[in-house]
Symmetry: D2
Subunit: 266 residues, 4 copies
């Protein structure tokens, strides 16, 4: 929508029907922290048809992008929360990271991402991180209320060999989503309701450098008055027990894909 | 989306399932300019099943809202472009204003409005108007690029009688929309594709005061580099011939509705 | 600065040397809360030559302005903290409110206000208040960190007579400031160091309506990492004992003055 | 100001009196375009005591900074316009770049820079550049009005040797400014009025990489209504004849200095 002005524009369609190869662009800086929590807390977040895969390890990722082709070279930022899960459908049996929610700080990719791809994208402000004396501090706010602090310290850069090794890790099938669109006027039923996969194959993405360190992430318990559209989501994360922090990393990469290969799982 | 954190929150659902009566809130200031253009230019914007109703008069409306209940008292702004149209379905024959596009300056109402209601909402910045020596100047920008200027002058307040008379004008059936959601991975087909009506009945809305004046509105011819997601929409308006300006008004109102009565047209 | 492009522009000088009468503009909404604290805590904030006048009652005011003439009709917002004080100079003996600090959310009036007038203006974000079920909530943030919450409830509008009476209160001499500009390269000395008065006479300001209620104000204890330029100021307020809340008001006014009558105290 | 909360904080003074070495931080990306214009047009911008030095070549620089120590690791952006000039005082005879104006997108460094250092800093929005298919596009806006476009193409990275050679260029004496602070209430006189030098010596600044290309820069002729505080400055640049473009460069650097060595010229 609107559809009545000619083909709509977005990541998979530029002016005059052109597409974007996402080679050498966008540029991304990605900060990631993982922690072990309780399986039962994560299972409560899984839609029907999904189950936990392996250890209940949550990953929180903050990504800062520039030079995005379909935005004519503008950038935007993301904050995602995911954990390993398997979808067992009638036909498809795939394992990957279930992306429970993805905050973005620009509306345009939110609604195309929701409607075309089934990503659970919502909005917040994601200002440029603060980097001071070896610590990187990422925050997320909405209308002046800060609901997340992520801090990473002691980043040590991987050698060429370590970087290569880290990329040879067995890939999973991709990112798992659940697309759900309400039916207008029929508020308890859906027009759309199906699982979706972002296949992991992304040949144009190149990790240029990677760092490992330690970090913490904190979602702040919030009131409806603080976050009237999303406090229940933030609180679900605030309530997760952090049994043990795992990896904290930073990486710089170039390239992506247009997600033209996004597909419905059955 | 996400649906797996409990019932999602929005205009039609607050915490613990509460609803919002929209009585005495929100508060709105509304600036509106109409002009006569060519029927053929407007017909090109109509989805199948719709036709022009009466004179080809376009209305551009800039609305500044505060004290919105479902946002716990925050506000946001809107810019809409509409013209009179009739939908002739198998079952429904309704006449109202076809809302070709509605820009909003906050992401949260954009995606609920698109998905739940079928409004053609997209994003831009809509700063507070500039008011100087009797002229109000509203603008719309996206990432620093200004694509619209609306100016209203010579506002004269209606008397109590004139205000009452202006509200007794025969109401139409409401606002017409076309909801359209692509099918993931099947990029030429839709999951959702139907006409939608916002019925005009809104008993809790009260116009407190109204002014009439003269004005102009200008959409600026834009490049893909200026507005990579929406230049085709802005250019469709930039190309509209302005044969004659009609009414320019400002009004202040309180109250609205939660649009729970939005319905699919068949 | 810069001075080499012709006369600089600001509140006291428009294009072609014109001035601004500030009649019927700007429009302001003003929220104010007062509380009793310890005299010794306020005395610590007073520059030489100043002393407390009467009870140690602090007033925190949040002001939202639109239609400012010298900004061609744009607006901006303010947050000030003041208390009654007397300046005893060699020549001048005046009593008024000492304005310890004035946050503003636009840079342009900050530097003209500091340099031309001696106001202790600094910067923060001051978003439009949130108004929900009778409560108004004003906040102040800097780069995503919220350092103040002010909440006002139970606002009851004054009658015409009460409004008139409230304006007949004996006026003080005005607002007291201390202008201080460092000498470049000589970091322990000042180029400028003197007390300043904003005389209270402002004939073009008209209070249109006033409300009284109850409220609270909280400055949050902050770290240098939170507010690297102002944490010491915010903490000075966070540490103030609140012995008793006094008046909480809202008012709407039009008109102001260009502060051309600002004068040095000797 | 305010001075009554203890020592104020800024680039030359952190918490507990600490200073900042500016080694390895901040990180800067700098885009620069030079062009030949008319000597007489530049001479009109020079305060008394200054004269043009050599060719009338204007340089417009857009700088994007992150990891600033005195801001606890936050960043901000700058846009400066300068040309070569000599100051001939009673005592000092120095040649460098006269910085006619420096826009910054954060208020805090603007007022310390103006008052402590005499930089002609003013405010505007300076969003992250748009980089698309080899072109970098920097813009400057104020309240939604865009007054400058700078575009750089065809950037080719210098080799190690070329980079070294480019840094061996004979340095000038530094950056020249004119500090001017009005006297309160005495609107035609100044409290402060003197020339200032930023000495060029900055040992902790290291240029990591440099690129050369072609570019254009355009300041847009503006009305008072567009830029009520700065239209005369923007128009002075809009009116400059561009006889010939010179160098266009991008560079990445780390390190700076705290400008503690800023000094008055006599």
């Amino acid at each position: 929508m609107p559809t009545h002005f000619g083909p709509s524009l977005g990541p998979r369609q530029g002016p005059n029907g052109r597409t974007f190869d996402c080679k050498n662009a966008p540029k991304t800086r990605e900060y990631s922290i993982s922690f072990l929590t309780n399986a039962s807390q994560l299972e409560a977040m899984l839609p029907e048809g999904f189950e936990l895969a392996g250890e209940p390890v949550v990953t929180v990722e903050a990504v800062y992008m520039t030079e995005i082709q379909w935005l004519a070279g503008h950038g935007y930022n993301l904050l995602g929360v995911s954990f390993p899960a398997t979808f067992n459908g009638k036909q498809d049996h795939v394992t990957g990271r279930f992306l429970t929610v993805l905050w973005e700080n620009l509306a345009d990719p939110i609604f195309t991402g929701r409607e075309e791809l089934g990503f659970a994208k919502i909005y917040c402000e994601l200002p440029e991180p603060r980097v001071y004396e070896g610590q990187t501090h990422c925050i997320a706010t909405w209308k002046g209320y800060k609901f997340m602090d992520m801090k990473i310290d002691n980043l040590k850069q991987l050698s060429e060999e370590e970087l290569k090794a880290s990329q040879n890790a067995p890939a999973d099938d991709g990112i798992l989503h659940y697309k759900y669109i309400l039916r207008t006027g029929d508020w308890h039923n859906a027009d759309v309701s199906y699982a979706v996969l972002t296949p992991s194959y992304t040949p144009n993405r190149v990790v240029k450098a990677k760092w490992q360190g330690q970090g913490t992430v904190e979602f702040h318990k919030s009131l409806w008055e603080d976050l009237p559209t999303t406090y229940h989501i933030v609180n679900a994360f605030a309530e997760l027990e952090i049994k043990e922090y795992r990896e904290a990393t930073m990486l710089k990469a170039v390239g992506a894909k247009d997600l033209n290969d996004q597909r419905i799982l059955q």
